[in-house]
Symmetry: C2
Subunit: 114 residues, 2 copies
């Protein structure tokens, strides 16, 4: 199993490409075949497969082949982990601003009472 940091490395790397984000945006509306994902991108099937491989290795998607059709679906848990990492940093930043604001108002009050 990949450790959390490696999962985040691969997830954010997978998200750093507009074609891959486009495919994820399509998959957020439901599973799709590889050809359906390739169509709006004007991209060769091997290029699409390469992108899908990068996303599958990070756990963002899963795929299954039935007969000649490979169907791809979103695995939302990996997106959630990436979202949580960012949200935690943002919360810490907001807590920092709150502390800073409280400190400033202490300084102001000290000035007013002197």
């Amino acid at each position: 199993m990949l450790n959390d940091s490696l999962v985040l490395d691969r997830t954010f790397a997978a998200l750093a490409d507009p074609a891959r984000r486009g495919m994820l945006a399509r998959l957020a509306h439901g599973p799709a075949s590889v050809s359906e994902l390739a169509e709006p991108l004007r991209m060769s099937l091997p290029a699409v497969m390469q992108h899908l491989k990068a996303m599958e290795s990070s756990g963002l998607i899963a795929s299954e082949k039935r007969g000649r059709v490979r169907t791809v679906r979103l695995k939302p848990g990996t997106l959630t982990a990436a979202e949580r990492w960012i949200r935690d940093r943002r919360s810490e930043w907001e807590a920092h601003l709150d502390r800073f604001e409280a400190y400033l108002s202490t300084l102001k009050n000290d000035g007013a009472t002197q």
Copy 2:
């Protein structure tokens, strides 16, 4: 000005590295000097500067030099844009699941009334 897609490319690419995420996690608690950021990473100052450059170009951080000290601070807006992109995909996925569930229950009810 960078377009939104390019900002997301650079932001997610900047987040795809444990050393850069470590620096952002430190900066979420407040501004820091370049040496303070370098210290826990056991990394050369030029290597740290390289990472900071990647994060500054994506708008994740800003830095300012006063005398001999360069102070780095988080720019939370860029993190928020990345977080929003992921959250929107997750919401679409949840809406898809709701529709799928509603469809399944329609099928079941149709079966029950026949």
